[in-house]
Each structure stands twice: as structure tokens, then as C-alpha cells.
Amino acid sequence: MDNASFIIQQLINALFLGSIFSLIALGYTMVYGIIELINFAHGELFTAGAFIGIIVLAALQNIGFVETHFVLTLILVFGMAMAYVAVLGVAIEQVAYKPLRKASRLAAILSALGMSIFLSNGMMLSQGVSDRAYPAILGMDGFSILDARITYGQVFIIVLSLVLMVALNMFVNWSKLGKAMRATAQNQTMARMLGIDIDRTIRVTFMIGPALGAAAGVMVGMYYGSVRFDMGFIYMIKAFAAAILGGIGSIPGAVLGGMIIGGVEVLWSAFLPSEWKDVTTFVVLILVLYFRPSGILGEHVSESRV
């Protein structure tokens, strides 16, 4: 394998990881933009999405549906995982966050953390502590550019995540609910005065964010071929780093941050010892927070918010 193909291969890897981080980071950014709370349970929602995907896939494989209706299978798997996790997101919001909207921030954060611990242990109890194999349906077929092997699965995942991001952007910018979301994020009191149903807007945000995370979970499962109950933790921290890097509250920022974090991680694994790659993400996160807490595309963050 020569240099050019090596670069292309790494580029594809970076693009894939970047899309995953972006999708998860979008959930953080949206929720933070609206209620200024880090949804600690987001990483667990991502894992829950992956597990729902595995369950649906296994069920469909059992009845031989996958071979006959491949496209429909993909739609079903992603659709059901996203729908279920959207409901889960709303449930968490109702149980743990809504009663604390007026309470101190410490209380809200601790409640969020409690939900995260609860969900992660719930998944451990039901799905086991070991790695679960994901049914391999994407296959190894693909094409080559300059000896660099690119599977259709990789292309599919990258394209799907791009589609989701564009759809989200269109929704937030053009739809009525999206406008309500942006208004709520800017000034909740004013939005309420203008007749926007704040509760409904927050609920919708808690559906869309986790649904995107669930899609990322299914993608990770399909791509790496296995999932684990605690994999959400590391993805959560990285996606959070991405959201901060791009500027928390900013949707294009989350995508940009995700791509940068993905790129850095792939570069690091390619040339330096990979067991230290997680450490670099944390260091990047801390450096960004220290030197530019508003991120690349974020507006100026006031002291009180930080």
C-alpha cells in the first residue's frame, strides 16, 4: 500500500468517526442550546440505540427478512432505534429534568448523572457485560481507489449521517418548530410571551437529539461489529469535546467539531501509540475550554454560563 492510498484510507476513517461524533455532538448542542444543561444520559441513549438496532436486526434476520428486503431492513432498523430512543429521551426529560428546571444547576446535573448511571446499569443487567456481536449485514463488498479499499458500508454510513445532518439543519432553519426552538434557545421568556409552547419545544428537542444519537449508535454497531453496555461513556466525552470545540449551542459548530475530533483521533492512531488516543481527546477538550471556551463557531459565552 503506497502513501496515497494510505491517506485515502485514513481520510475515510476520519470521515466516518467524524460523522459519528458529529451526530452525537448535535444532541448535546441542541439540548444545551435550549435548557443550558448537559444531557449526561446522552451517551447511554446512544448505546440504547445500538442495542435496539441489534435486537431489531436479530429479529429480522431470524425471519429471513434481511436477504429479501435489504433496504427496508435498514430503514426499519434505523427507524425503530431512533423512534424508541426519542421516546426514551422524552421520558428522561419528564422524569429527571422537567421538575428541576427552576432548581439549582447542581441539582439538575446530578439528576442527569443519576439517569445516566441508571440507564447504563440497566443495559448492563439486561444485555450482559461482554461485547455483543452485531449481525454483519453491510458486508465487505466495495471498490478501490488507488489500492485503498472502501466498502459500500462505509459509504452508506457517511452518506446517511450527512443526510441526517442536512435534514436537521433544514428542520431547524425552515420549519415552524425549528423556529420555535431557535427562539426558545435565544430567550425563553420572550418566546413564551410570543405564544410558543416551551414545554413542547423542549420535548421535541429531547426527541431529535437522542434520535440522532441512536442513529450514530446503530452505525457504530454495524461498522465495528460489536457493542458494549458502557461504550457510550467514551463516545460521550469525545462528542462533548466536539460540541465544545465547535461552540456549544451551534449546530454547524457541532459538525465541525466532530469532524476535527475524528480527524485528530485517526491521525493520532495512524502515527502514534493508539492506547494514548483517548488521553489526547481529553487534553484537547481541556485546552479548548481553557483558551477558548466559546469554541470555534460559538457566540461569546458569558462568565456565568461557563
Binding site: M115, S126, E303
Partner: protein, 415 residues
């Protein structure tokens, strides 16, 4: 039964049901709906108790009975509160000190674990409860303590007692390293960054094979020893006694715990403690009133870290073994749970929560699996229903239930 309460009950029961649904295995996996249903049943049962409690308290009969018993209750309460608090503390101390005499080895071990977590909780309480800085990577300082003792002992043969102050200083330095970049942050950002720091320390311990032997851990540290003079055949001589037995280790930990309680209590009422509370309440106002916020925040991290470091050294000495997997993020969560459930800022609350959270799951071994599940739910429920904790700190309780008017009790406390 008030209609709104009933509605809340139904909504919560439904949403908790949805939350518990991921625990149901589906076709192709393990089908264990019964387990999820049992958990859901338990949760709904607790909710129903809450509803019943509220309903009963609303009813006329309860009110009538309550007013009749009010004088009697007050009478009893007055009798008990007349006794100075030091008598209760004395009884508690004697109880804890006598515990190993009646307990078997396993129970003593559980007792030591309890004491370890209580001290960790008290240390974290300085950071979270007093200074109001949420630290999700607290267990890292515990690791720093454990590894500094292990390395000092294995490479330089430094004894436990000498390495305690050294470990405290190292822990405090690490506290400042974490504290310094996060000085400007509060709330969510701080939580994530401290979590990241905690993971960095664990990953470094795990990956730095040459120094820490990686995931295999370090083995063979010396137990703490005590030297005392004794009369032997040759006259007066020094006898070296190694604290190997569980009893000896228990008492050592007991002394550490008592010293910690005294230290934290004195800190709480000191000038520094009050300055921390001022920072927690309003940093800008505190700064304007002349409180050196930067130094005090660093000090809070350093102090908290120093306590954790001492317990870490004890932990490593007790097992003569340490490895990075003792210091995972979940451990930080357990310590935080103890602080939160007990009541942020409340020393008796943390002691009680430490006993409940560590001892109860050990005694009911079959509940071990569900331990963290219950912790997580309890943490969220506590924040929603009773944010001041099991035994609220008097200062904190007033803050969380501000009524705008002061009750006689408040006035007595000098609020």
C-alpha cells in the same frame, strides 16, 4: 386524594416504565421481561407509597390526630435535643470502636470499606458541598494516593507513615493541577472536565507500563507498622508490630476517619469554610467582598485531594496491591452519590449515606447487581424530591426551602 398528585403518579409510573423497558431482552437476545417488571413494580410501589403518604397527610383525620399528638411529639423531641450532642457522638464512637469485637472478619472488612467511603465522601464534600465545585473525577486522587504510596514503598522503601504526608502533598499538587485550568468554569463544563481528568489519570496509570506495570498493577507493598517500647529479657527495647490483622487495619482506618471528621468539621466552621460557601453562593459577590476566590478554589481542590490521597495510601497498604481498574468512573459516582444522598454539606448525612450505600448491598449480596441501578435512580429522585439529602445541613436546608420568612428555628441558629 388530590387529583394533581394522582396525575403525577400515573405520568411518573408510565415514564419510568419506558425507562426500564431497555432492560427487557427481545427475541434473539435474553428474554427477561420478568426482571424488568419486578424492578418496575418496585419503583411503582415506592411511588404509590409516596402518593399514599401525601394523601394521608392531606386528610382531615390525619390533621386532627397530628394536632393532638403535636405537644407529645414536641415534648419528646425537646427531651432528646436537651441532651448535648456530644453524648450521641460518644455513643456512636463507642459503637464503632466496639464493632470489631462482635463482628466476624468479613463484616470487619465491610466496615473498613464503609469507613474508606465515608472519608472519601467527606473529602469530596469539601469540593462539592462547601465550595460548590462539582468534581466527577474525584477517585483519581484516591488513585494518586494509592500509587504514590505503592511506588514510594516499592522503590525507596519509604514507610507508610512517612509516605502519608508525601502522598498528601502529591495529592494536593494534583488537585491544583486539576483545579487551575478549571478556575473559570462552573457547573456542566466543570463536571465534564473533571471527569476527563479522572479518566486521564486512570489511562496514564493503565498505559505507563514501565512505572505502574499497567493493568497488572503493583504488588507487595508493606503494611503499616507501629513501633512501641516493651520490656523483654534484655531490658527495654523497641518492638515493631506490623498492622496485618483486619482488626488493626480497622482501628487504623477508624482513627483516620475520626481525624477526618474533626478536620472537616473545623474547616466547615472556619473562616475558610465560610469563604467557600460564599464562593458557592455567588462568586462575584464573594470576590467583591474581598474573598480571594482563586486561592480558595485551589485550596478546596487541594484539601479534598489530600484527604482522598490518605485513604488511597491506606487502601493500597491494606491490600498490598493496587491496579488501575479500582479507580474507574463508577467509583467517583458512588462517592458522589454518598455526598448527594447524605445531604450536600452535611457531615452526619454523609456518614449515614456511606453506611447505607456500602454496607446494605454487602449484607444483601443478591442485591449487589442492582446496586448501581438503585443508586442512579435514587440520585435523580433525591434531586427531584428532597434535594437537601437524608440529613440536611442546617445551612443548606434553609437555602433550598426559602420561604421568605424566617422561622423561630432559623432565628435560633443566628441566620
Amino acid at each position: 386524594m388530590a387529583k394533581s398528585d394522582f396525575k403525577t403518579f400515573i405520568v411518573y409510573a408510565l415514564f419510568l416504565g419506558i425507562l426500564i423497558l431497555p432492560m427487557v431482552g427481545f427475541p434473539g437476545t435474553r428474554f427477561e421481561a420478568s426482571r424488568a417488571l419486578t424492578i418496575w413494580g418496585g419503583v411503582v410501589g415506592i411511588l404509590a407509597l409516596w402518593l399514599a403518604n401525601k394523601t394521608v397527610r392531606r386528610s382531615d383525620m390525619y390533621r386532627r390526630t397530628a394536632t393532638r399528638f403535636e405537644p407529645i411529639k414536641n415534648n419528646i423531641l425537646r427531651r432528646f435535643s436537651k441532651l448535648p450532642i456530644r453524648y450521641y457522638i460518644l455513643v456512636l464512637l463507642i459503637g464503632v470502636a466496639a464493632y470489631p469485637l462482635v463482628a466476624n472478619n468479613y463484616m470487619i472488612d465491610v466496615g473498613i470499606t464503609c469507613l474508606i467511603y465515608i472519608v472519601l465522601g467527606l473529602g469530596l464534600n469539601i469540593v462539592v458541598g462547601l465550595a460548590g465545585l462539582l468534581d466527577l473525577g474525584y477517585i483519581a486522587f484516591y488513585a494518586v494516593g494509592a500509587y504514590s504510596y505503592s511506588l514510594l514503598n516499592l522503590h525507596f522503601g519509604i514507610s507508610f507513615w512517612l509516605s502519608l504526608p508525601i502522598g498528601m502533598v502529591i495529592g494536593a499538587i494534583f488537585g491544583c493541577i486539576i483545579g487551575y485550568p478549571t478556575l473559570r468554569m462552573r457547573g456542566d463544563y466543570l463536571a465534564i472536565v473533571t471527569m476527563g481528568f479522572g479518566e486521564i489519570i486512570r489511562l496514564v496509570l493503565n498505559n505507563w507500563d514501565k512505572l505502574t506495570k499497567g493493568p497488572n498493577g503493583l504488588l507487595g507493598m508493606a503494611k503499616p507498622t507501629v513501633v512501641y517500647p516493651a520490656l523483654t529479657d534484655g531490658g527495654l527495647s523497641w518492638v515493631v508490630y506490623s498492622l496485618k490483622s483486619l482488626h488493626a487495619l480497622y482501628y487504623l482506618m477508624f482513627i483516620i476517619a475520626v481525624l477526618t471528621v474533626i478536620g472537616v468539621r473545623r474547616l466547615d466552621n472556619s473562616r475558610i469554610g465560610r469563604a467557600w460557601v460564599a464562593i458557592r453562593e455567588d462568586e462575584v459577590a464573594a470576590e467583591l467582598s474581598g474573598v480571594p476566590t482563586t486561592w480558595l478554589k485551589l485550596l478546596a481542590y487541594a484539601m479534598g485531594a489530600a484527604f482522598a490521597s490518605v485513604v488511597g495510601a491506606f487502601f493500597a497498604a491494606k491490600l498490598s496491591y493496587t491496579n488501575p481498574n479500582f479507580f474507574i468512573f463508577m467509583e467517583s459516582c458512588i462517592v458522589l452519590c454518598i455526598v448527594v444522598l447524605g445531604g450536600v454539606g452535611s457531615i452526619p448525612g454523609i456518614i449515614l449515606a456511606g453506611i447505607i450505600l456500602i454496607a446494605v448491598p454487602e449484607v444483601f449480596r443478591e442485591l449487589q447487581d442492582y446496586r448501581m441501578l438503585a443508586f442512579g435512580l435514587a440520585m435523580a429522585a433525591m434531586m427531584v424530591l428532597r434535594p437537601e439529602g437524608l440529613i440536611p445541613a442546617s445551612r443548606r436546608k434553609r437555602e433550598l426551602h426559602e420561604t421568605g420568612q424566617s422561622t423561630p428555628e432559623d432565628l435560633k441558629d443566628g441566620a
